[in-house]
């Protein structure tokens, strides 16, 4: 791979929400991430791990309590007014449920061209032709321009969602569980479309997902989140064999894969995820980890680099690294 262009970097971002009794809900704890042009970064984690909060901050729908988000050389964490409006053309979003993502009273062509008109990129008279082009880009017939969202199936609507996100040619597209409301066969076609469009337009995709098998198939890199912390970042082709963090391994063990050994009992961690209101001191995963040590209860492990593009936050590996030195 030649020189990779950094389009978005998240530096030490923390987000706390005030809760009752003067406590704070720690949704994101000291997150560091980088997103490169033409690459897909998947964020994997269970519900409540803070992946959607992180995404909302990247989209400037929420502001971090601490830290910076640098997009194309500009700190976007605290943008306001016109600067924020102009910035929005760089990052667009595809939503989880395409049925609720559109105004039901607008025709598809108006939905698709609204962002273009907002930014003055086309004239009103061009709406029809532009909408057709966009629909053809996502492999839908151009006649759909005059339909309403309820006249379409879920997969078709999600294609329109993608077309709308790409209409103003953003640098980054964020997908929040963009395929989890769809059937598997539809999911497959949507993923194929996303990958194709990514290659054509050279965009960076941030993809939130809870299906680690899908992540391993469609992304370049994956970040695994647990209770507001990133516990492991690894290249996706290493997910199957190279995962190191006990939580990543637990996620892998809990997959029902078609190629699995069906006579084997399925592994899973028994306990429940702790409340983010009182995150334990030390490693967030300590209560559910079967390799928990003394140090895990005192110190939160930092991400350390294990190989190129592979970072892991776990004391099991901090120890061995120290011994090596």
């Amino acid at each position: 791979m030649s020189e990779r262009e950094l389009v978005l970097s998240v530096k030490n971002v923390t987000r706390r929400f005030p809760a009752s009794g003067g406590r704070f809900l720690l949704a994101n704890n000291n997150i560091n991430l980088e997103l490169y042009r033409g690459e897909t970064l998947c964020i994997v984690g269970e519900s409540g791990c803070g992946k959607s909060t992180l995404m909302r901050m990247l989209l400037s729908l929420d502001t971090p309590s601490e830290g910076e988000i640098i997009c194309l050389g500009q700190n976007i964490a605290h943008l306001k007014g016109e600067a924020l409006r102009q910035h929005r053309r760089h990052i667009q979003m595809v939503f989880q449920d395409p049925a609720h993502a559109f105004n039901p009273k607008m025709k598809i062509k108006d939905i698709l061209c609204e962002p273009l008109l907002n930014f003055g990129m086309i004239k009103k008279s061009e709406v029809d032709t532009r909408a057709r082009q966009l629909l053809e880009m996502v492999e839908l017939p151009g006649d759909f321009a005059d339909r309403y969202p309820h006249n379409m199936s879920g997969g078709q609507r999600q294609r329109v969602g993608i077309a709308r996100a790409l209409a103003i040619e953003p640098d980054i597209v964020m997908c929040d569980e963009a395929t989890s409301a769809l059937d598997v066969s539809v999911q497959k076609t949507i993923i194929e479309l996303l990958v194709k469009l990514q290659k054509e337009h050279n965009i960076a995709i941030g993809f939130i997902c809870h299906d680690i098998a899908l992540v391993s198939q469609m992304s370049h890199r994956a970040a695994v989140m647990y209770l507001g912390n990133i516990v492991e970042i690894l290249p996706s082709d290493r997910i199957k064999d190279g995962a190191m963090h006990p939580y990543t391994k637990a996620l892998l063990g809990a997959i029902f894969d078609l190629n699995m050994d069906f006579s084997k009992k399925i592994d899973s961690i028994e306990s429940e995820i702790p409340s983010p209101l009182d995150v334990p001191v030390g490693c967030p995963f300590q209560d559910r980890c079967d390799q928990c040590m003394e140090i895990c209860k005192k110190e939160n492990p930092q991400l350390i680099k294990m190989a190129d593009g592979h970072e892991v936050a776990c004391h099991l590996y901090t120890q061995t690294r120290k011994e090596d030195k």
Binding site: E46, I212, Q217, L252, D257
Partner: protein, 263 residues
Amino acid sequence: MLLDIKDISITYGKNPKPTVEHVSLSMNEGDIVSIVGESGSGKTTVIRAVLGLLPGGGKVSEGDIVFNGTSLLSYDVKQWQSLRGSQISMIFQDSGAMINPIRKIGGQYVDYIRLHKECTKQEAWDMACDMLTRMRLPSADNVMDSYPFQLSGGMRQRVGIAMAMTFNPKLLLADEPTSALDVTTQAQIVRQMMELRDEFGTAIIIVTHNIGVAAYMGDKIIVMQHGKVVDSGDRDHILHHSQDPYTRNLMNSVPTLEGLRYV
């Protein structure tokens, strides 16, 4: 033969075209059958028909459902009441939605037990606690004293399974029991459902769109599309040797760790 669904067709309201056409299924005690298919393929309608729970004017227009030698279609309200919960019970996608949100778990559970069995409140309470403990819910008394919203999704689902299993039914119908759960919780619930069969000999029909779960649990897998059974057979047949193009396409669409990488 525990359950025999004989060539049923189900219609809703005045629509002459059946939603489910000519579905047959027979199972013995301790069998697990998975029904897979995409949304709208009629899989939930089939198992709802077994429990007589078809919504909005749905009715079985053809065929027969025979449970333990008697036809279920001729049952009246009283007979249904004695059957549901004690002989056949059901787990829903989100057990939280089936539990009354403004009552504590304990009170509802006790009512449910006393509806089916003559006993004192204390006996019912102990029985409920015992069942919750068996479903590996930590501190059963605490759960009994909670409102549904105070429990996590996985815990609520376990309460649902505990309630369904209280009277040791012969047949358990599970409608997407893990679809709303996280993967690690899903694995826990699936394992517990498998243990039900080993422990109680319960026959299970599981409806799911997660083909991995269906393949893991089911001795037999039924693939449905547009209200018809397009393919059925054991795991090996469905996963590897199916001749049906729809089934093959469905299997190829499931994301797997070893699968084709798109990037």
